[in-house]
Amino acid sequence: MLVLSLPTLFLAFLRLGATAYGGPAMMAYLRQECVGRRQWLTEQDFKDGMALCHTIPGATMMQMATYMGYRLRQLPGAVVAAVGFVLPAFLLMTGLSAAYFAFGELPLVPALFHGLGAIVVAIIFNACVFLTRTAVHGWPGLLLVALAFTALALRVNLLLVLLGAALLALVLFRGDPAPAPTRKGAGR
């Protein structure tokens, strides 16, 4: 396996963190940069990482950056990759938040967010469509969706909902064939 210095790794992930845009499309970008162009990981390593990051909790993109850092330079690599990847977004978001809460009342700003809010609704609907493809197969899946919707509307404890869903899935999905190895979408 090739050896990268930690500063090199940090700068590379800083650059990736500043240029990775577009929700689920980011995963393709990350693959193209790290597997295709730089050849840090093999295609199989990348796929394994994706399967793992979809299985454990946390933001998938961030997990992938951490996973690659870990594969390349163990724990220090993971720290460097994660911090580098999130730093551009953090700085930009802090600046934008400060501006939003300071200038939110200026004339054009409410108009801007009026439209952006509608787009956010569209983005969430789109995420729902992605999740349908990956998580919901047949009536057992739909039943879980309906139960979770109702539970959240009734303000049931979230941890209980997730535990319940996990246990119900063991019963409901018992007869299903093994899940597909690569699950795409909802990757942001």
Partner: protein, 194 residues
């Protein structure tokens, strides 16, 4: 992960947790909530939206639904993960320190999970019960996300123009138009028509 690595990680975790706890209850609360959100976020960034909504908007009222939607919109124009909305919420609740803490808290627990599970990667990947349970949780998040979409829709879709923007944006996303392009064109259009 080596024993030394674990000690360092535990030290960082303790500092992140205990320092704000001693000085400002709001920051400690923020910290705990975002750590909890992170640990429950099976299925990636979008799964955190219903979780953050429940805790931050419904329970603590740090931001309003309107502000939360706007924060997610800002999360779309910044690069990187959508979870960066935690920075926005943290900023509102606790200024710059809040923004920093919120950001660390929403990534740190899953970072520990990922790095400490490294020796068991293969076994997790092949374990059928784990895969099935995760699928159940994903389905549950789908249901929760639908409810969030309903809440957001009631707040953001107030007239035929907002409905029109939403429909056009969804159609574009569905046809795989680049997200940044959709948001950019939408932003320019919004300032013209609203």
């Amino acid at each position: 992960m080596t024993a030394r690595g674990w000690v360092i990680a535990a030290g960082v975790a303790l500092c992140v947790l205990l320092v704000p706890l001693a000085f400002a209850p709001v920051l400690a609360q923020l910290n705990l909530i975002f750590m909890k959100v992170d640990l429950m976020a099976f299925g990636g960034g979008f799964a955190t939206i219903p979780l953050i909504q429940r805790e931050v908007v419904d329970r603590f009222g740090w931001v309003t639904t309107r502000e939360f939607i706007d924060g997610i919109a800002l999360g779309q124009v910044t690069p990187g993960p959508i979870v960066i909305t935690a920075t926005f919420v943290g900023y509102k609740a606790g200024g710059l320190v809040g923004a920093l803490l919120g950001t660390i808290a929403v990534f740190f627990p899953s970072f520990i999970v990922l790095t400490s599970l490294a020796p068991y990667y293969d076994r997790i990947k092949r374990s059928r019960p784990i895969q099935v349970m995760v699928r159940g949780i994903l389905a549950a998040f789908f249901g929760m996300l639908l409810l969030v979409a309903y809440h957001f829709g009631r707040e953001a879709l107030v007239d035929w123009k907002t409905w029109g923007v939403m429909a056009a944006a969804w159609l574009a996303l569905w046809r795989k138009v680049d997200l940044l392009l959709v948001v950019g064109v939408g932003a320019a259009l919004s300032m013209a028509i609203f």
